[in-house]
């Protein structure tokens, strides 16, 4: 029923000037607040240590990388005084000392890997330097560039100068296909190396396609369920929820059975004479979107169903009796009131799709890998956590921006769950 904002009689209550009253009210409420805080305390601690802290520390890696600064302290110090470009002898001496020390404590490979992520192909040069440098032989610019011309190139030293900084924006820039230029500006990475923007765009397009597909399938179904008698709709909702209780891995694997070239779906299409050819569905964008749509359908459907269920049937009757034709009544009375549910369902599916990993990995082809697959690759295969963190950071930022936009435009916050 309607909430009334103005309390009747509130205006006639004289304001009390007694300051002890406010204090008493505060005291009385304090006990309740304390109890509430104690009750949610364990949850807050869990969230802090298992959610906020790990995420913050991972995202921190996107801008904080101490590997080179720790392993090459003398070089870092010597570079302070050196001019831009290839530095003078003392820096080479310091670098040789640092590299030998790194070889001693087995951190040379880490240095090589870090420099490699800033300068492609740098790894082998660093490892080679570890071999040709000898303890007790002071290195000079001439001796090092003579052994490997790599060390005489300005690009190399540009990368080292960046690498010995503990805080760096290099990875974040790389995650959106940008890089620092030697002149201090920001520019595009070379044509052949730019991939992430395309992957982000692909991720968002796939998420949008799946969201739209679930809306087209889910909205009429939600409408039907909301308008059935309670007993029947309860049973049908169980059918919608059933896939929810199956592991996403199992369901994705099941889709590989269905979508194969000689799988059930192609057999069916052939048998129905829809086509005379077998489609390539497995390892394609289409197959991946089909599988993702199936998995995401309940997420889109349930908030919509909830919004439709709470809408009173008299709303539509009122619209009809006031002269609105069915389509007008739907557009002006029904849709605006279920819109928060539609927005919540679409947003849920869209955001979940942005992080999809298993389905693209199993059903999608090489050109269908989404941003999560790249993040996973950096963490598990390439061991470049900085790059993984930078990509995660960009994904999180884009997702939050999108959420903000959605709530503002469609009013997800107005959604009342039953």
């Amino acid at each position: 029923m309607g909430r009334s904002v103005a309390l009747p009689g509130a205006a006639s209550v004289a304001p009390v000037t007694d300051p002890t009253l406010a204090a008493a009210v505060h005291r009385a409420a304090r006990g309740q607040r304390l109890t509430a805080l104690l009750l949610v305390g364990p949850l807050l601690l869990l969230l802090l240590f298992s959610f906020c802290f790990p995420i913050a520390s991972l995202l921190g890696r996107a801008i904080y990388d101490p590997t080179m600064a720790d392993s090459l302290p003398r070089t870092a110090a010597a570079l302070q005084a050196a001019p831009d470009g290839v530095p003078p002898d003392p820096v080479f001496a310091a670098l040789a000392e640092d590299l030998l020390a790194a070889k001693q404590d087995n951190s040379l490979y880490a240095v090589a890997k870090t420099l490699n992520s800033l300068l492609p192909a740098a790894r082998s040069h660093v490892l080679r330097a570890g071999r040709f440098l000898q303890p007790g032989q002071p290195a000079t610019r001439e001796s090092m560039t003579g052994a490997d011309p790599f060390w005489g190139e300005p690009d190399t030293w540009f990368a080292i100068r960046h690498g010995v900084q503990r805080f760096t924006t290099t990875y974040l820039l790389a995650a959106i296909d940008l890089r620092w230029l030697p002149d201090g500006g920001i520019g595009q990475v070379p044509e052949g190396e730019a991939i992430y923007r395309a992957v982000f765009v692909r991720t968002f397009l796939v998420a949008a396609a799946v969201t739209i597909a679930t809306l087209i399938l889910g909205f009429p179904l939600a409408w039907m369920l909301a308008n059935l008698p309670n007993r029947l709709s309860g049973r049908l909702i169980m059918l919608v929820l059933l896939p929810f209780w199956t592991s996403i891995l199992v369901r994705t694997a099941a889709w590989t059975v269905l979508l194969q070239k000689y799988g059930l779906l192609n057999d069916l299409l052939l048998w129905l004479h829809v086509s005379s050819d077998r489609f390539d569905l497995m390892y394609t964008r289409t197959g991946m979107i089909i599988a993702m749509t199936h998995i995401q359908l309940p997420f889109t459907l349930l908030p919509i169903y909830s919004a439709m269920r709470t809408l009173q049937p008299s709303q539509m009757r009122a619209a009809y009796s006031l002269g609105a034709r069915p389509f007008t009544a739907f557009r002006r009375v029904y849709l605006p009131q279920v819109m928060p549910g539609v927005a919540a369902g679409a947003l849920l599916t869209f955001i979940l799709c942005l992080g999809y990993f298993i389905t693209p990995a199993l059903v999608g082809g090489p050109a269908d890998q989404l941003i999560s697959n790249f993040i996973s690759n950096y963490i598990n295969v390439e061991l470049n956590w900085q790059m993984a963190a930078a990509l995660s950071f960009i994904l999180l930022a884009l997702t939050l921006a999108l959420y903000g936009l959605f709530t503002k435009l469609l009013g997800v916050d107005r959604l009342k769950l039953v």
């Binding site: 029923m1 309607g2 009122a318 009809y320 009796s321 006031l322 002269g323 002006r332």
Partner: protein, 374 residues
């Protein structure tokens, strides 16, 4: 059902209308009812009596299983609700929460493509009629129940429909506000010359507002007439019990002489009563006596002695709960002042004219049981 050619000014005619939802039971049995132009007709009855089904059929939300409904002489069975030009006020108001008050009221005009300037004028006028001019920009959720009710009223009236339906519109309001709104709606009806079909289960509401009342019971109209007729001359024990208060006593008819009859109650007490309808000697009957028809007196057509169990003071009158010899209870309404005290025996008297005897059947037994179990 033959359609009688009628010269009356009937805006709505129900002709032999039946409605069944499940194919076994009839929610509306056989409805023949005219609603005259400009009248305030109330469909009164307990829940499940078919009054709301009747209203929904008239609004076009339900289709009659048999029979037809004529609106201004035209059958409307195939006319969808949005083409019937009927304003409706719902029990829960059914205001659109995502629109402002003014947008709500403008809704029927905008779906009819009324020009913006004219629509604005009419919305303003409609809101002024229900005294809510200052609330156009508010959302329905920010209004009190009574204000929401008035918005719903303005919205149902703004497009000047031929007919206004109201489905228990005051059910959610508290008593004081409800009585206030009853008068307000009644005034609107007179002022604007509306034709109103009003559904309620509250008999005092029906008496207050209506020109005519149709009393529904088990899917049938058991009596149709002006409020005073229903009150003073009920045709069935159900109406006698449902409209106003009545003391109902079971008995058996002894003799019938012209406009009078003698009734023997279960304990042997003899009463002089006025038979309603066909009452034959020997038949089981139900006797109805209004509490205000009973006097504290020694003389009258009927006199009996009763033990005053309790006295309830109600300001303008007091109510005595009396035990009579046969185990029945009589409620007596007397003017305030010293007259009776609890615990004493009093003589009660009432005239034969105020003592109605109805032929009893299965449904009256049910009514009696309801009375006693209530």
């Amino acid at each position: 059902m033959p359609v009688q050619a009628s010269e009356t000014d009937a805006l709505v005619r129900f002709v032999g209308v039946q409605k069944s939802y499940d194919g076994h039971t009839l929610a509306v049995r056989d409805l023949n009812l005219d609603v005259n132009r400009g009248e305030f007709l109330t469909l009164l009855g307990p829940s499940g009596s078919g009054k709301t089904t009747t209203l929904n059929m008239l609004a076009g939300f339900e289709r009659p299983t048999r029979g037809e409904i004529l609106l201004a002489g035209r059958p409307v069975d195939r006319l969808p609700p949005y083409q019937r030009d009927i304003g409706m006020v719902f029990q829960n108001y059914a205001l659109f929460p995502h629109m402002s008050v003014a947008e709500n009221v403008a809704f029927p005009l905008s779906v009819r493509r009324v020009a913006r300037a004219e629509a604005e004028q009419r919305v303003k006028r409609a809101l002024a009629t229900v005294r809510l001019e200052a609330f156009g920009d508010r959302r329905p959720g920010q209004l009190s129940g009574g204000q929401q009710q008035r918005v719903a009223l303005a919205r149902a009236l703004v497009f000047e429909p031929a007919l206004v339906l109201m489905d228990e519109p005051l059910g959610a309001l508290d008593k004081k506000l409800r009585e206030h709104m009853q008068i307000e709606i009644k005034l609107l009806h007179e002022q604007l010359g509306l034709t109103v079909v009003y559904v309620t289960h509250d008999q005092s509401e029906a008496l207050t507002m209506s020109d005519r009342v149709a009393v529904f019971h088990d899917g049938e109209v058991v009596q149709l007439g002006p409020p005073d007729t229903l009150y003073s001359r009920p045709r069935t024990p159900f109406v006698a019990g449902f409209i106003g208060e009545n003391n109902l006593l079971p008995g058996r008819c002894e003799t019938v002489e012209g406009a009078g009859a003698t009734i023997r109650l279960q304990d042997g007490t003899m009463l002089h009563a006025t038979p309603v309808g066909a009452v034959a000697p020997g038949a089981r009957v139900v006797v109805a006596i209004r509490p205000e028809a009973i006097r504290l007196a020694e003389t009258g057509d009927n006199v009996c002695r009763a033990l005053v169990r309790s006295v309830i003071y109600l300001g303008d009158h007091q109510r005595l709960i009396c035990d009579v010899a046969n185990g029945a209870t009589l409620t007596v309404k007397v003017p305030p002042g010293p007259g009776a005290t609890a615990g004493e025996t009093q003589a009660l008297a009432w005239s034969a004219v105020d003592c109605l005897a109805f032929a009893a059947d299965a449904s009256t037994d049910a009514t009696l049981n309801e009375e006693w179990n209530a």
